[in-house]
């Protein structure tokens, strides 16, 4: 039976259909999880997609954590279930306290929409366990608030615990320590700014998102 993957839909999400398409491509049975329902409906993995949840009001991700589904997502994560937040989804997970740190505005003062190279720094996470350690993946980014930051103690902890799972080869947004993606202590919650669901076909310019998406299912 195909693994069931829930893709959370907030008012203002805009990458959920891309993610449904991409997860179908790698053999999952994807479905939408409406933010107003306080359940993850027994899925095997949860993805919080990109967009502008609740209009990014107050701060990106700040209102989303009050949606009824986030309690269920937190419980799912606490039980070890795979949770991946992409772009705005990463912002939502930091604001919900499922991942440390915050995403500030890009250092270069510009919205950045381009293909970047990511180095797989750790394969010990639900998003990278099927990728090759040290390999370089071409995956697009598309954000204004993607400049990851955290305090010095948190950064030291992330490094010491091998929780920086993806780094930019060339830093596009000023992120501290070139961080593109991190995971939680349990390694089952991952947040990243790049969009692996947009790197799933040669027609899109790259298929390097596929090993990441497959990892979620393995």
């Amino acid at each position: 039976m195909s693994p069931r993957v829930g893709v959370v839909l907030f008012p203002g999400s805009n990458c959920e259909q891309d993610m449904i398409e991409a997860m179908g491509l790698v053999g999952a049975e994807p479905e939408i999880l409406w933010h107003g329902d306080a359940t993850t409906k027994g899925v095997d993995a949860v993805i919080v997609p990109g967009g502008f949840a609740h209009g990014d009001y107050l701060r990106p991700g700040a209102i989303a954590r009050f949606s009824p589904i986030m309690g269920a997502v937190s419980e799912f994560a606490a039980a070890g279930g795979p949770v991946v937040g992409i772009c705005n989804g990463f912002q939502v997970l930091t604001e919900a306290g499922l991942l440390p740190g915050a995403l500030q505005k890009n250092a270069g003062l510009k919205f950045v929409c381009t293909m970047v190279e990511l180095r797989v720094e750790s394969t010990d996470s639900v998003l990278t366990r099927g990728a090759e350690a040290g390999s370089v993946l071409r995956v697009p980014i598309n954000h204004f608030e993607g400049n990851y930051t955290c305090d010095a103690d948190t950064l030291a902890q992330l490094r010491a615990e091998d929780r920086i799972v993806l780094r930019y080869v060339e830093n596009p947004n000023g992120s501290i320590d070139d961080i593109a993606g991190i995971c939680n202590e349990g390694r089952n919650v991952v947040g990243l700014m790049p969009h692996p669901e947009r790197a799933t076909s040669e027609l899109l310019g790259s298929i390097d998102g596929l090993p990441l998406l497959r990892s979620i299912l393995s």
């Binding site: 107050l58 700040a62 890009n106 955290c150 000023g174």
Partner: protein, 86 residues
């Protein structure tokens, strides 16, 4: 007792502020020289009903810490006065 609350949310020192930088770079084109240190924040106002000023302030500080700011990147500055503003 009703208290009128004003919360200024500022980006912490060192946090990127593209809006502030862009405004600062635009100002000289208006012929005004010498403007530096432009930072753009947020201003949030509301009224709160509480037993006294200390408990009102405690509630507002809690709101700032848990919701109105992200303490990783923002600081809050609270002003509180007796009586509704609206």
């Amino acid at each position: 007792m009703i208290f009128s609350v004003q919360v200024e949310v500022r980006l912490r020192p060192g946090i990127a502020d593209p809006q502030g930088s862009t405004i600062e770079r635009a100002i000289p084109t208006l012929g005004v020289a010498g403007v530096t240190g432009v930072r753009v924040g947020k201003f949030i106002r509301f009224d709160i009903d509480a037993a006294d000023e200390a408990s009102a302030r405690a509630s507002v500080e809690d709101l700032c810490r848990r919701f109105l700011t992200n303490p990783v990147i923002e600081d809050s500055f609270i002003e509180l006065s007796a009586g509704a503003a609206s």
